[in-house]
């Protein structure tokens, strides 16, 4: 490690700062504005640079890496198109609160604003989609700015931060000084929850007869899953989770109710509408969760803990807000609960009855395949312990229903933004982050094509990623809405005539590939994929076209009005 006080150029300072931030991997793509940086990188041996094939891929990979490991993902791309190509990935990370630092090359500072070659005002473009961003105008500010960027990305509510690096700044020299601490006067997140509020919350929780824990991704980023498990089990409180919250509580535990909301379980949504106390932790009352907000949990007293005060009362008015870190909140609750416990057997019994009334089911036919079967089979074979990345659409929702996530940091899925094309690169990033657990990607045939170029990255780095393509030759979720709400006008969603031969395409990228068309082949292919560790293993599952995800709450309806079946779409429960 270079010592503070020596004279270095901007590029050397850049890598020295990354080292000091503990960065071991960056996802990048070189270009004109970054030539000096890549010249320096040529001799850097202690930071791994993953060469992507499209800058959007780099951004999703960094996010996948961050979500799987808990450490910030780092992106390095050139100016202009390199920078603008990361915009979707940055927005995705912003919506799902993933820690990420994106470094973009920029034209020399003297040329900024002149419409120079490969110039884009990326700081202006990304202002509304980053937690914060910086343009470094002087090499003397470089180290402090990088320090601030990592600090902002990882403290409080995590999120993406962008640092724009003009070419001349990276070439010029100065004495390197590493700031030991960071002071940002406009950024002081409330970490410690207010003691009185916690005490009040504990009192209310202790007495509640029909409480429900509504858990979001904040619990996972706060590393509060253990504490949550303790609270729920000791107090006998059922747990429902959002898409990002899945895995925070073991999916195979009797108190787990799976996901709530639009494609949540019937019993979770019933519980929301019948509970007397809703304890929201690290969740933001997203519209996919609440449905019509006027009818959401109307009988419940609502406690809401979140690290971001703007989430309080944003969509749903709550009765007891507690701003602060979710781990500290849950621990505070546990410390303040009395020894005596309220009997909740009646409430749990009711939930059991709902569970039996409308369980998650699908039929198995020996001659055709259903996505539900494939996902449940992968869940069984990996014992719920894989790191599962999804793309966006029907397979994503079925993953929430049929994969029984048993630990945190197990589902990587584009929730807020719903980015098709997220899956493959995010799964690659997760696999680069850790191979301690099996890495699985579920993807549809639509989204797979959107970043298919990253198969090169997976193959080149010999990543043991299992790529499971659920091919129904349709944009399935759009098709589902077209069937249910748009007079069966399947407008531009049928891909059967245009999809390529996926197995041949994937093989051309240098990956192992199989195809399965019935349950027996599927079982065998999954087994083979899970046993293979010398590189990516691709399986195309030929699934039936017209399958739909149920239950479903139509957009804007109350979550008590669930469609359970396509045969009878008018009957709602």
């Amino acid at each position: 490690m270079s010592t503070s006080g020596s004279t270095m150029n901007g590029s050397e300072i850049f890598f020295e700062c990354l080292r000091r931030e503990g960065v071991d991997t960056i996802f990048g793509y070189p270009g004109g504005a970054l030539l000096k940086v890549y010249e320096t990188l040529y001799d850097v041996t202690d930071i791994r640079h993953i060469l992507v094939r499209h800058e959007q891929g780099a951004a999703h990979m960094a996010e996948g890496y961050a979500r799987a490991t808990g450490r910030p993902g780092v992106v390095l791309v050139t100016s202009g198109p390199g920078a603008t190509n990361t915009v979707t990935g940055i927005t995705n990370a912003y919506m799902d609160s993933s820690p990420m630092v994106v470094f973009t090359g920029q034209v020399p500072s003297t040329m900024i604003g002149n419409d120079a070659f490969q110039e884009a005002d990326i700081v202006g473009i990304t202002r509304p989609i980053t937690k914060h961003n910086f343009l470094v105008k002087d090499v003397k500010e470089l180290a402090t700015t990088i320090r601030k960027a990592f600090y902002l990305a990882t403290n409080g509510r995590p999120g993406p931060v962008l640092v724009d690096l003009p070419k001349d700044v990276m070439n010029s020299e100065c004495v390197f000084n590493w700031p030991e601490s960071v002071e940002i006067r406009g950024f002081k997140p409330t970490i410690e929850p207010h003691e009185n509020q916690v005490r009040k919350a504990a009192k209310i929780i202790a007495k509640a007869k029909r409480p429900l824990l509504y858990i979001g991704g904040g619990v996972i980023s706060a590393e509060a899953s253990e504490a949550l498990r303790k609270l729920a089990i000791e107090q006998n409180i059922p747990v429902t989770m959002t898409l990002q919250g899945l895995g925070a509580f073991p999916g195979d535990h009797p108190l787990s109710m799976g996901m709530l909301g639009m494609h949540g379980t019937f019993w979770a949504n019933q519980a929301v509408n019948n509970c007397d106390l809703l304890i929201a932790i690290g969740a933001r009352f997203d519209d996919r969760v609440t449905g019509k907000t006027d009818t959401f949990a109307t009988h419940a007293f609502k406690i809401h803990n979140d690290i971001d005060p703007t989430n309080i009362d944003k969509n749903v008015k709550v009765d007891l807000p507690v701003v602060g870190d979710s781990l500290k909140f849950i621990e505070g609750i546990i410390d303040n609960l009395p020894k005596t416990k309220t009997d909740r057997s009646e409430w749990l019994g009711e939930i059991e009855a709902w569970r039996h009334q409308c369980p998650l089911t699908y039929s198995v036919d020996e001659n055709s395949l259903k996505t539900e079967f494939v996902i449940e089979e992968v869940s069984r074979q990996t014992e719920g312990n894989a790191v599962v990345t999804t793309d966006v659409g029907q397979h994503q929702m079925w993953t929430t229903q049929y994969y029984k996530f048993r630990q945190p940091r197990s589902i990587l899925s584009s929730g807020g933004l719903g980015t098709m094309g997220y899956g493959l690169p995010a799964a690659i990033g997760a696999t680069i982050g850790s191979t301690a657990r099996p890495n699985v990607l579920f993807c549809g045939d639509g989204g797979f094509m959107m970043n298919i170029q990253e198969l090169v990255t997976a193959a080149y780095y010999k990543l043991p990623l299992k790529i499971f393509l659920l091919n129904n030759h349709f944009l399935g979720m759009v098709r589902q809405w077209q069937e249910l709400f748009h007079q069966e006008k399947y407008s531009f969603t049928d891909l059967a005539d245009s999809n390529p031969d996926f197995v041949r395409v994937v093989e051309a990228f240098g990956c192992k590939a199989r195809k399965a068309t019935n349950p027996e082949e599927a079982r065998a292919a999954i087994q083979e994929a899970l046993a293979y560790n010398d590189g990516p293993f691709f399986v195309e599952f030929q699934v039936i076209k017209k399958d739909m995800v149920f239950p479903m709450v139509p957009a804007g309806a109350s979550i008590s009005e669930m469609l359970l079946d396509r045969l009878n779409p008018k009957t709602m429960v």
Binding site: V123, R127, P128, G186, F187, D308, D313
Partner: protein
């Protein structure tokens, strides 16, 4: 209802854009915004006039706080505060109207900043209400041009 929000921000390029962009991205009303340096060169004071019910104003205050470049956000609406606006107004001038115009300038404690044969330019400082009244009263003489500064505000008393 109308709210007057005072925001201390980092005096950096892009800060005004961040604040204004947040208002438009989240669909908040932005009636006026003014910004200038404070006694500390590194800090600017922004005065924002906006409208909304309690829920919206609560969100506006929190969203403002959430921006990294904002240092302090204060809703002055229900606190004792001073709010002022500067009006520069140019009117048609004629022999017949001259007398009345000068009388009104006195009433509003205005100042003549430019005068020609056929026009007069006046500055008036006051609360936004007073500025509105001033404009109304001058209107019959024929307004040629108006420039308003937007409101600047500060709390009253020791704090």
């Amino acid at each position: 209802m109308k709210h007057t929000i005072s925001v201390l921000v980092e005096n950096k390029f892009g800060t005004l854009n961040r604040v204004a962009a947040m208002f438009s991205a989240r669909g908040f009303n932005l009636e006026s915004i003014s910004i200038g340096e404070t006694e500390d060169q590194e800090i600017s004071r922004m005065t924002i006039i906006t409208r909304g019910d309690d829920r919206i104003i609560g969100q506006i205050l929190k969203q403002l706080n959430r921006l990294v470049d904002t240092i302090k956000v204060t809703d002055l609406t229900h606190q004792p505060h001073i709010s002022r606006e500067l009006l520069v107004i140019s009117l048609k001038l004629s022999k017949s109207s001259q007398h009345e115009i000068f009388e009104l300038i006195n009433v509003f404690k205005g100042k003549v900043v430019d005068i020609k044969q056929k026009s007069i330019t006046i500055e008036v400082v006051g609360t936004p209400d007073k500025i509105n009244t001033t404009i109304d009263m001058f209107r019959p003489f024929g307004i040629k041009e108006i420039a308003r500064s937007g409101t600047v505000a500060m709390h009253r008393g020791d704090q």
